[in-house]
């Protein structure tokens, strides 16, 4: 076997965003010898970019709010494709997880009574998001980071976990490389918690950072675990579109939560034209009622500006397609004419700063130009709702990398709470599992094979540039597996992915192993292309439109498909896709959701060229 240092732990947590940190804190607290391994420096994970808030039915602003309403909103927002038990646990436990952050030093914005203030967000019936201006993710990650450091938990920074090791079908650890030195490192562990986030970097226009390369999903699939719902990708309706260098950068839903509205090029508040039947009873159909709703939720219905993200993103796409878009191919987001300048600066300081510094736009005086941006994947590793256990022993997954909680579409604010609720559950379950698990054995042959794959890009013949392949992958996914999909384009995407995979096998890396981003990207390409293929294959299989998956050739939600997950497995190196039934919602919870199902036609049309032609 190759000479590789080995670190031995009970539980290895991969990823140091909200879910990973929360899982590690719990596992350590339960007595397991725990390590966190992360690709970036501690505190830089994607959670830091979350803006609007953490959804939790604390009932501080609207006493009517409770877990049942939150559960209902989550299920309806997810077009009922959610795992009901995850949605229930999430709604029930989110308030405790938020209050726990306060015990660890977080300082949320306050109500007049001194409690945690909550803000409105899309798809939530009541103002529900605990927040700190528009930098909630920073507060959350720093609170967890400081708490984790105070517990003395080991952190391996700038260390990329690349493959899971298995021992007779159960997890035995992982192989990683140090980014700084290029040296390989083995983790021997009975349990691994994956908290690696999503795969947004496969798309060209995305709010995601370089870290989002689908590592966790790819490793789990390779190790034998199931993925589900991989066709369910969320396009956040409001990303920046101008100038080109900031395209895709997130503009928080808090802008609309705090009173902002969407307008087309002629100034029309177009969302009133796109209210789906499924949400009609709870959505205002005129501007006066929509505006009154911010102050009086008892007697008014919610503004359609705050429909769930999938609905808003599709509406924007349709407006642009119909020729009612802005100069740069987006729509306007206006808060300048609707709220006073000092309110905007206080509530949305980083949006003010971001537009001022990067786009020369003063959002207290001018409208923002925005368009959809790939933001999140609802699909991922199939987990047990109570323990976050994946389908192979010793493997756990929490946060964006896991699936089920959000169904076909995630509501804003439900991600940060998801990280806390299921991060904690994963850490707890992993620590419990290792108590009863026998020692794991590291398979030298497996290690040697993985080690060879890791260093191969330095040695093989070839002349492909990893950056060029990545850019081409992003074009493919943007053009062919975007917001509106159809059979021919998905098939073309699969053909292109095959060519990209072949090119990726001919990437040759130059330079040394010391902090070499070209090498890192060459390795990431395998995961990116692999997960892009799973998304495209799943999208091809699901012949309906639901949530984050819209098929031009199947524009309706199909009740039969509404009862199924698309499941992806890898067996003998080949992908196998099937459908399996979603666990049925128990009657007492069914009542909370309401009986009507999403069935009508969704607004599709050709995908618009958001951001204009280049």
């Amino acid at each position: 076997m190759a000479e590789i240092n080995t670190a031995t732990y009970d539980v290895v947590v991969v990823g140091a965003g909200g879910a990973g940190l929360r899982a590690a804190i719990e596992a350590h607290g339960a007595g397991a010898k725990t390590a966190v391994v992360c690709k970036s420096l501690l505190g830089k994970a994607h959670t830091v970019m979350a803006e609007g808030g953490i959804a939790a039915a604390l009932g501080n602003v609207w006493q009517e709010d409770n877990w049942k309403v939150h559960f209902r909103d989550t299920m309806r927002g997810g077009k009922l494709l959610n795992n009901w038990r995850m949605a229930q646990l999430h709604a029930q436990e989110a308030p405790d997880r938020v209050l726990e952050l306060e015990e660890w030093g977080a300082l949320f914005d306050r109500t007049k009574d001194g409690l945690i203030l909550q803000r409105d967000f899309g798809g939530h019936r009541y103002a529900r998001l605990a927040h700190v201006g528009d930098r909630t993710g920073l507060e959350m990650i720093r609170t967890l980071q400081d708490h984790l450091v105070a517990q003395g938990i080991d952190v391996f920074m700038e260390c990329t976990v690349r493959h899971l090791l298995t021992d007779g079908g159960r997890v035995a650890g992982a192989i990683a490389y140090w980014r700084q030195s290029g040296a390989l490192l083995l983790f021997q562990a009975k349990a691994v918690v994956l908290a690696t986030g999503g795969v947004g970097k496969a798309w060209k226009v995305t709010s995601n950072s370089w870290e989002y390369t689908g590592d966790g999903m790819a490793m789990a699939l390779e190790a034998g675990a199931d993925l589900i719902d991989m066709e369910m990708t969320q396009f956040h309706p409001t990303g920046m579109i101008w100038p080109p260098s900031v395209r895709g950068l997130l503009v928080t839903e808090g802008v609309r939560g705090d009173g902002g509205t969407l307008r087309n090029a002629s100034g029309e508040r177009f969302m009133f034209k796109y209210i789906p039947e499924f949400f009609r009873a709870e959505t205002a159909d005129n501007e006066a009622e929509a505006d009154r709703w911010f102050e009086d939720k008892r007697n008014n219905r919610r503004t359609p500006d705050l429909l769930p993200r999938d609905e808003v993103a599709r509406a924007i796409n349709s407006e642009v397609k119909a020729g009612r878009g802005t100069e740069h191919g987006g729509v306007f987001l206006d808060i300048a004419t609707r709220r006073p300048a000092d309110y905007i600066k206080r509530r949305l300081p980083s949006m003010y700063h971001q537009f001022k510094e990067l786009a020369d736009v003063d959002i207290t005086k001018e409208q923002m130009e925005i368009g959809p941006t790939l933001h999140y994947i609802m699909g991922g590793i199939r987990v047990d709702p109570d323990t976050a256990a994946a389908t192979i022993p010793g493997l756990y997954a929490a946060g964006e990398v896991a699936a089920g909680m959000h169904g076909a579409n995630r509501l804003g604010g439900n991600s940060l709470s998801d990280l806390l609720v299921f991060g904690r559950r994963a850490g707890e379950a992993a620590a419990e599992y290792v108590k009863g698990a026998s020692t794991v054995r590291i398979d030298d042959a497996q290690v040697d094979a993985f080690a060879k794959r890791l260093t191969e890009p330095f040695e093989r013949p070839g002349d492909e540039n990893p950056y060029a392949i990545h850019a081409d992958l992003q074009e493919t996914m943007h053009d062919l597996v975007g917001i509106i999909r159809k059979k021919e384009e998905l098939e073309e995407a699969l053909a292109q992915l095959e060519r990209l995979r072949s090119r990726a096998s001919r990437v040759r890396v130059t330079g040394t192993r010391r902090y070499n981003p070209g090498w890192h990207l060459a390795l990431d390409l395998e995961n990116l292309i692999g997960m892009a293929e799973v998304v495209a294959r799943s999208a091809l299989l699901r012949t309906e439109s639901r949530g984050g998956h819209t098929r031009e050739d199947f524009p309706k939600a199909d009740p039969d498909w509404g009862t199924k997950n698309v499941v992806t497995r890898k067996r003998d190196g080949r992908l196998a896709l099937t459908t399996e039934p979603i666990p049925a919602v128990p009657p007492e919870l069914r009542e909370l959701i309401g009986e009507d199902k999403p069935q009508e036609m969704v607004a599709t049309g050709e995908p618009a060229v958001i951001g204009g032609k280049e």
Partner: protein
């Protein structure tokens, strides 16, 4: 654009010429160079939106976040030189070893809240959390650490000086409405607050506009001085102490760092 290239302490600035597009920031250009000329060019970044504090560098000598430095700030044809931050050891190209900061973070006694209100809730008022929320804006870009002359030019001070980032952190804890831990002796004796000559270099480079000197460092200095030299305050703190701080002041006042 001239970029520092090299592994470890050896290296030089290498010039690259690439076309730029409207709205580009320095980090975009670094990425373009990486994609077209130098695939192994090492650079840290994450959010590209000024939120994560990863891409700190010195652009034409000024400590900046590369993602928030627009190319339009420079005149056409003006030479742009990008160097790694100077205060920390070089690893490769624009990447430095910032572990100093993570080691310092381990030495800070954690938040320790007082009991909840009788109804089980916690109440804090916005006007009381405002000033601490300013400190919580810190994105840990460590530009304040980079520019602080106490450690920028004096490697020997690093063991006894934690730097502006951690004075902000300590101020946030000390001024937290719920916190009961006592860190004042520690701030003086271990974190080296007295070394700071309040030249405000840190405040000037903070991309989050935190008033590090005026709102964090000076009030901390006042608290330390009050606690140190007011015998009644000192005695009361002995009695009330609940947190794991140092034992009674072990360093006599005459050995205070110069400007405490």
């Amino acid at each position: 654009m001239k970029i520092w290239r090299g592994e470890g302490s050896a290296g030089e600035h290498v010039e690259y010429v690439v076309p730029i597009d409207a709205g580009m920031v320095v980090l975009d250009v670094v990425h373009r160079i990486q994609a077209t000329h130098a695939p192994d060019l090492a650079v840290r970044w994450n959010c590209k939106a000024g939120k994560c504090g990863s891409c700190s560098a010195e652009v034409n000598g000024a400590p900046k976040l590369m993602c928030m430095t627009r190319m339009s700030e420079f005149a056409t044809g003006e030479a742009i030189t990008v160097s790694p931050v100077r205060t920390f050891p070089l690893i490769k190209d624009l990447v430095t070893d910032v572990s100093f900061n993570y080691e310092k973070a381990k030495t800070i006694p954690p938040f320790k809240p007082k009991p909840k209100d009788p109804d089980g809730k916690r109440r804090m008022y916005q006007e009381d959390v405002d000033r601490v929320q300013e400190f919580h804006k810190c994105i840990e870009c460590f530009l304040c650490q980079d520019v602080c002359h106490v450690i920028r030019d004096h490697e020997e001070n690093k063991p006894s000086f934690s730097g502006p980032r951690f004075f902000v952190r300590l101020a946030a804890l000390e001024m937290h409405p719920l916190d009961t831990n006592d860190r004042l002796d520690l701030i003086r004796a271990k974190h080296g607050l007295g070394f700071c000559n309040i030249t405000k270099c840190c405040t000037e480079v903070c991309p989050e506009d935190i008033h590090i000197t005026d709102n964090a460092i000076i009030p901390l200095k006042e608290r330390v001085v009050t606690a140190q030299y007011d015998p009644i305050a000192w005695a009361l703190r002995r009695i009330r102490r609940t947190g794991p701080a140092l034992p009674a002041p072990s360093v006599p006042p005459s050995k205070e760092p110069p400007s405490a």
